[in-house]
């Protein structure tokens, strides 16, 4: 798991311009399920690579990283220059963000705002894989 201080709520792609729009969400924790089949380098690449998972979940480096696989945790920490281990107040922090935030409302509002902006013509954006 990783501390996420710039969480992406939705990542949208304008089919005309290909422009990516990221929408922030309050800080949260991002969980990553590494697969044994991918091997160490694959597990690392799938998380921190250019089109890896992290860049789809956050716009900034993780605030911290923790997990059961010490080698992977250490590699992620070195890559991002972040500390290892959950903050002492992690349980309270997660509970607070759950109580204070409505992800669905936030997402809908963000998409509506984007659609009404001058970035698009009002049509629904596409969500695509890369």
């Amino acid at each position: 798991m990783l501390g996420n201080v710039a969480t992406i709520e939705r990542r949208l792609v304008d089919s005309e311009t290909g422009e990516h729009v990221v929408v922030s969400h309050p800080p949260t924790t991002t969980v990553y399920g590494a697969q044994e089949e991918h091997g160490f380098l694959g597990q690392l690449e799938n998380l921190v690579g250019h089109n890896g998972a992290w860049n789809w979940h956050s716009t900034e480096s993780p605030a911290w990283v923790a997990g059961n696989d010490d080698a992977l945790v250490q590699a992620v920490a070195r890559h991002y220059g972040c500390p290892v281990g959950k903050p002492d107040d992690w349980d309270d922090y997660v509970r607070e963000q759950w109580v204070d935030h409505d992800a669905t409302a936030s997402s809908q509002a963000a998409v509506a705002a984007w659609q009404s902006s001058d970035k698009v013509d009002g049509s629904a954006p596409d969500e695509v894989a890369e």
Partner: protein, 235 residues
Amino acid sequence: MTRVNSGADHQAKAMGGDTTVAQSGTATSAPAATTLTDTASTWPASTTGPPDTGGAVGHILISGNVGGVILKNTATVFTIDYWHQLSNWGSTTAGTTPSNGATYVVCPGQAPAMFMGLSVATRTIAAADAFLTNDGTTVSELWGSGGGLNRAICAFTHSLGVGSYTLTITYTSNTNDNGNAAATVHRIGVFPTNVTAAPTTATTGEMLFETNLSNDAVLVPSQGDKVTVTESVTI
């Protein structure tokens, strides 16, 4: 990203249940590599596809320390993708086939759709697509024995409290892929089942999502070209 029709069925059963929820029983003959027979089973049969629908399709059948995703079933025979090792669900090395008399459970819900396959197909995606295809009738999914572009399990990532998740995998091509010829990967499919041989209409299983890559990935196997694909799913 398009959630195809079979994906809607899978998703509904995963989240809402099924008309038959679960079942336990005993194998009444020696199970095979992809089948388990229970003459006392009461689960309704699936409807012929591809992919088969209804019945126990998409449920996980577990026996001991192995399990498989049900592709189809008759009144007494469950057909699965293969016996996955529960300790390494993504491995294509099958676990030990259960024995005659083995107890089993067909679990509630559906198997997680964590497997991604690649295709060079450019045919327009349709909700009715039952598998990755370029002509609507034959499977067009890259697969080679020992290849690096075969259907494989993805890493799951989710930010707590956020209505989305991602599936990510890095494919590394090798000379076993696409006849050692360059492959222009155009789209991906997301499946709850894996394959241990080139997928056919009988083995490809339910497909949940079909998505064109934002850019085609031209992979030259002899160069070991790689591509990382992330499928972002809003829920």
